[in-house]
């Protein structure tokens, strides 16, 4: 049994880690909810975002948080182009084609990164890398607290965008009823690409907030994909609130699993929750009825 004194710090830490997970999952839930795409390239795109942040820092001395002004827009453009130029064209209306093409893209992106950036693990050194904030006797690393707040803000912005803008209404209409939306004059290809671009832009935000407490190498994305899928399912596909709450829950489950079952076996908790939710409540905690 773990020492009871560390349970509270562990939960608090799990929450902040969960905030990071939620950031990665927000983009995924948008893409999944609207395009119904299981995007295998999500991890590879996160990795690209992390490299962008890294090089901005290493070459131009731009702080990762300042990079928030640069990386997400660039990632948006990339995502828009990928969906419009490749993924949309390759789908031919079939799920399995999207699966293959995003898989192909992830192989390409990861290995191009390997070729150009080499396989070294890189980290950024910021003045606040080692700073902590003390809450209830727990030392919470400053970058993770920022990421936690960032996740809240990003989720709120996405929610505003979806509910209060024309684009958001078009996206929701398209997600619900494709043919009907097209009948009323929505340019489906454009809106799909906008959604994919937004999803990838979320990864850009995640990259800026993640790198100060993490590292980047060509394979780094793989470690986040599965967990992001878990969160999306747990929260309900397409739900931003769900992704946020799901991320926090998974963060805490992971922390508690690690504490009570051991760090390796404790990963089991995440997948068991995943399976149980899928079986008993496949629409997730905040998902619309299927």
């Amino acid at each position: 049994m773990p020492d009871s004194a560390i349970i509270i710090p562990s939960i608090l830490n799990g929450l902040t880690t969960g905030g990071l997970y939620a950031l990665v999952a927000l983009g995924l839930t948008l893409i999944y909810g609207v395009l119904h795409i299981i995007n295998f390239a999500h991890g590879a795109l996160l990795m690209l975002g992390l490299y962008a942040v890294y090089f901005l820092n290493a070459q131009f001395g731009i702080d990762p948080y300042v990079a928030l002004l640069i990386v997400p827009p660039a990632m948006f453009a990339l995502g828009y182009g990928l969906q419009r130029g490749i993924i949309g064209r390759a789908s031919h209306g079939r799920d399995e084609n999207i699966l293959l093409v995003t898989l192909g893209l992830s192989i390409i992106i990861e290995n191009l990164a390997l070729f150009f950036f080499r396989s070294d693990t890189r980290t950024v050194d910021t003045p606040y890398s080692f700073d902590v904030i003390e809450i209830f006797g727990a030392f919470l690393p400053y970058p993770k607290v920022v990421a936690f707040v960032g996740a809240l803000v990003t989720a709120a912005l996405l929610w505003l965008l979806m509910s209060h803008t024309d684009l958001g209404r078009a996206i929701r209409a398209l997600a619900k009823e494709r043919k009907g939306a097209q009948l009323v004059g929505i340019d489906a290809d454009h809106v799909f690409a906008m959604s994919f671009g937004l999803g990838v832009a979320c990864l850009g935000v995640a990259a800026c907030l993640l790198l100060p407490s993490y590292y980047v190498n060509p394979q780094v994305g793989g470690g986040f994909v599965l967990i992001a899928f878990t969160i999306v399912v747990l929260g309900g596909m397409g739900s931003f609130v769900g992704a946020l709450v799901g991320g926090l829950i998974i963060g805490v489950v992971e922390a508690m699993g690690g504490l009570f079952l051991g760090e390796s076996l404790g990963q089991l908790g995440i997948f068991v929750i995943f399976i149980l939710v899928l079986i008993f409540r496949p629409t997730g905690l905040f998902g619309a009825k299927a």
Binding site: P2, T17, T121, G223, G262
Partner: protein, 414 residues
């Protein structure tokens, strides 16, 4: 397969990529003025280098390849295999992508293309696959890094390992720790092991937790973690609550970076951080990037002999090329040089002769703290890890004494 066909001429049939790699070295030799006629007479000696240069362990794989290629360039520049009329060594390169099945398939291709010896695999899983495939044709196979002891205990007559296995490393880690601890008046009484979940971490941790009680150090907890572990705060909290005198990590670089950073954030103080097979004190990248976090950390790992001229010259040459001088580089370098020496002594590329020469090797131009090579069942008995410590931003060997470049500072918090 067209790409594995080979002919006697120097370049025509050699796989294009191999030629590209070795061609440059050969060219360099040509320019420095070795008699061209000599090279034309001697058929090249082909050494296959199989490393995971893509995939999850790509960093270590590329480091291995870089070290091995340096060795080949050096040997060729010094006149090639002398007993064979100055035959040049030609590298055949292959990428195992981190997968044992691909590694084994590359061995098959290479043996058909007439490879004379193979240096592989970095990971234990891949080394197991490549060595047993090479054994089918009795092709000499030198393992560069794979630390699992099963690699050399299977009775394969073609398989040799120049560096130590994890059995030896764990034994030395415990023995050296005992000496260091006793010299300081035995302040350390408890330890906590934090290891990664695959073969090397698990195997090492098992051996350590069995042997540490024997030197009066109680293992208060063993924490096994996944690769990747995205957050180490939980582990740091557990360390904090158990307050071990020593923290003993055995994990890969990515996880080590996060662990070390988290230990600092959580303000955890111990008498020592003592890594086995990995860690800050055998990783120049870490020391350069996190000098404060690295200070006074100790490792028991592969390292070169800091008093050896050969070793220092090699490090300088490697760093001049922009390489970070990690243990993969010099272990792979030595694996190739060890094989080349055996071919030289065998005077031919006959497999039995080379295997016999490998088995009876007394080669000592390795710059490692090993002494002359002594192979027993394919394992170099003299191979051993050493203890290193980060002191004032540099990696110093602190134990055993005959190789030490500095005194041990222990405990690290006064």
């Amino acid at each position: 397969m067209a790409d594995t066909k080979t002919t006697k001429t120097n370049s025509a049939g050699v796989r294009r990529r191999d030629f590209l790699a070795t061609g440059a070295a050969a060219l360099a030799v040509g320019i420095t003025g070795f008699p061209a006629i000599l090279r034309a007479q001697a058929a090249p000696v082909k050494i296959g280098l199989i490393h995971p240069v893509s995939g999850f362990i790509a960093f270590s794989g590329s480091q291995c390849r870089a070290g091995a290629e340096m060795a080949i360039a050096d040997i060729n520049a010094a006149g090639g295999i002398k007993s064979m009329g100055g035959a040049m060594i030609e590298a055949m390169l292959a990428d195992s992508q981190g997968k044992p099945d691909i590694g084994a398939a590359e061995v098959t291709k290479m043996t058909e293309a007439g490879v004379h010896g193979i240096v592989a695999g970095y990971s234990s899983a891949i080394s197991l696959a490549t060595s047993q495939e090479a054994a089918k044709t009795n092709t000499p196979h030198v393992v560069d890094v794979g630390v699992s002891d099963s690699i050399v205990t299977r009775g394969l007559a073609n398989t040799f390992r120049f560096g130590p296995g994890y059995g030896k490393v764990a034994e030395m880690a415990v023995a050296n720790l005992d000496t260091i601890n006793k010299a300081a008046g035995s302040p350390a009484k408890t330890a906590m092991i934090v290891h990664e979940e695959s073969l090397f971490g698990t195997g090492t941790a098992e051996l350590l937790s069995k042997q540490l009680p024997g030197i009066g150090i109680e293992v208060v907890d063993v924490i096994k973690h996944a690769n990747p572990t995205r957050d180490f705060t939980n582990i740091a909290l557990q360390i904090k609550s158990k307050k071990p005198d020593l923290i003993i990590p055995a994990n890969y670089y990515n996880e080590y970076v996060l662990l070390a950073r988290t230990l600092r954030q959580q303000k955890i103080e111990a008498m020592g951080i003592y890594s086995v097979l990995g860690g800050a004190a055998s990783n120049l990248q870490f020391v350069n990037e996190f000098p404060e976090a690295a200070e006074l950390i100790m490792d028991c790992n592969h390292w070169y002999d800091p008093k050896s001229e050969v070793a220092l010259a090699r490090r300088k040459a490697a760093e001049a090329k922009g390489l970070v001088y990690t243990y993969e580089v010099f272990l792979a370098y030595n694996a190739v040089a060890f094989l080349a020496d055996a071919i030289d002594r065998a005077g031919s590329t006959d497999q039995d002769a080379v295997n016999a020469a490998l088995a009876s090797s007394t080669w000592d131009q390795h710059g490692m703290p090993y002494g002359p090579t002594k192979m027993v069942n394919g394992q170099n008995e003299g191979a051993q890890p050493v203890n290193t410590q980060v002191q004032k931003g540099a990696i110093e060997v602190v134990y055993p004494e005959q190789f030490a470049s500095a005194e041990t500072v222990f405990p690290m918090k006064m």
